[in-house]
Symmetry: C2
């Protein structure tokens, strides 16, 4: 029994109104696996890096109990590198540099020891690679979560639609939900998207929280209002990792557990943005996570009986 997370493991250079970083460790699989590791101890990564990636950084993942056997290290090649600059409102950013490097011909390898996969998180990559991972698993996982972005809707919509047929949960943001469905209303958009394959749709709205759609049910969770958002990089991946990590822990897939999973994911994401990169989510205590969950309960609970 394990949770496989596939996605980028990379270097980021980030500039925000609060400062800038040199190349630091980032990537969707890094954020998601760290977040998931707070709830589940059988997290396994599938990804690729170059030989510029530091052994200590892989050790850091291992120290969180994350299995990196499926993380390929390409000798003589360089890791994926992204550099971006956030605007003052922190809601938008400019990409300054994207160097695909090892990602350009990434062929995901699933080690034999990963074939016990019960939970699969497909981080944002080409729909083709995401589909390949599903096909290389001998048994269909109990739960497949897919994250994607507008870019793949622009350049690989057919592949994306094929891949969507194979998954249980889709996580996208509000603009992407509108683009994928052609509907402005998120309720109408969700209705359409839930006919494309996924049984659950999570629409991420950044500082406005997230919506979960399933059949005719809707759940809304706020984001924690923060005095300072230091660096939003990786918040969505941290959310997804916390979400699937919590579900792997409880082991039963239903709407009630999905709702709780979204709250846990939101709580982890609220930590992520408080420092640059993965800094904050590298060293959380159980007490900190519990206190944050309490903040979410206080934030959204009221006492009307109807």
């Amino acid at each position: 029994m394990s949770l496989i997370i596939i996605g980028t493991v990379a270097f980021d250079a980030i500039e925000t109104p609060f400062g800038k970083t040199d190349k630091i460790v980032g990537g969707a699989a890094t954020y998601a696996s760290l977040a998931a590791s707070y709830f589940y101890n059988k997290v396994k990564i599938v990804g690729v890096v170059g030989d510029d990636f530091h052994k200590e950084d892989i050790n850091t993942l291992n120290q969180h109990g994350i299995d990196t056997e499926g993380l390929q290290i390409k000798e003589g090649e360089k890791s994926f590198f992204w550099s971006g600059k956030y605007h003052n409102d922190m809601n938008s950013r400019d990409t300054l540099i994207t160097e695909l490097n090892v990602l350009a011909d990434f062929d995901p390898i699933i080690p034999e020891s990963y074939q016990d996969c019960e939970y699969l998180m497909l981080g944002n990559l080409t729909p083709q690679i995401q589909q390949t991972v599903i096909k290389r698993l001998k048994n269909r996982p109990k739960l497949i979560v897919l994250d994607t972005m507008n870019f793949w809707m622009d350049v690989a919509m057919d592949d994306l639609l094929e891949t969507l047929k194979l998954v249980d949960v889709l996580t996208i943001n509000d603009e992407e939900a509108r683009q994928l469905s052609g509907e402005y209303s998120l309720v109408k958009a969700a209705k359409k998207i839930l006919t494309m394959g996924p049984k659950y749709l999570i629409i991420k709205k950044g500082e406005h929280g997230a919506l979960l759609f399933h059949e005719d049910k809707i759940f809304s969770t706020p984001a924690l209002p923060l005095a300072e958002v230091f660096d939003p990089t990786g918040a969505g991946d941290t959310f997804a990792g916390g979400f699937i990590g919590y579900l792997a822990k409880v082991g039963t897939i239903n709407f009630t557990n999905m709702k709780n999973a979204i709250v846990y994911g939101s709580a982890l994401a609220s930590f992520c943005v408080e420092k640059f990169g993965t800094e904050k989510i590298l060293n959380l205590t159980e007490e900190e996570v519990t206190a944050r969950i309490k903040e979410f309960i206080n934030l959204s609970s009221f006492s009307i009986e109807a």
Copy 2:
């Protein structure tokens, strides 16, 4: 004991992607008093109209138990008229016509029978007029709620700051909170605004719901995701009216009741946008309101114990 609502009583001509209206009855005090009337039966309006305003429209308010003794009717003058056109996203609109008419020299008169006021809703008007109403009440109401907008921050900031010192609750939207405080983060903005007079701050975020700030506490409520937003006109005033109407009904001002009041206000606002103008909120049944409240409970409740 009564709830006084001061604000515009007006004609609107509205165009949305779903259609357009001729001159229909609108105005902040109209929406707010109708919403409040679902919870409280001593709602009294202060406002002004011209002799073009139809007797039946005043009768409609009276049939909802709304006292209109404080609604001045200016012979030979015309009512305030606003015309606007919503963009496809329904989140932004262009004002096509603003005719102040009777509003240009509005001097609010408080009838003697209104002096039992316990709850006061100051709808969006010049801060000077809002302040005058407070001063013309012999006893300070138990709760004063003030709504305002960016326009008064642009042209009458000093008056607004003076008036803010006199009120308990301020309702504004997120951009206005940022403008008033000079802070981008809503948490920092709220901290500053809560030193300006109000003990409670409600930040309205439209389709993203609302935030309530009080001391160090924050409450977040979602807006109900709707398949179709037909006409957003008056939603904010309906929210405010439902909010203060519910508080007037329960009679005790504390954070718990404030949170519930925000849910009731949000529920009423979710009805408002389903039809043009006041159409939907003219004829709600108790069952409809209760069912809508249940939807809000389902929408935001989860079952983590921490």
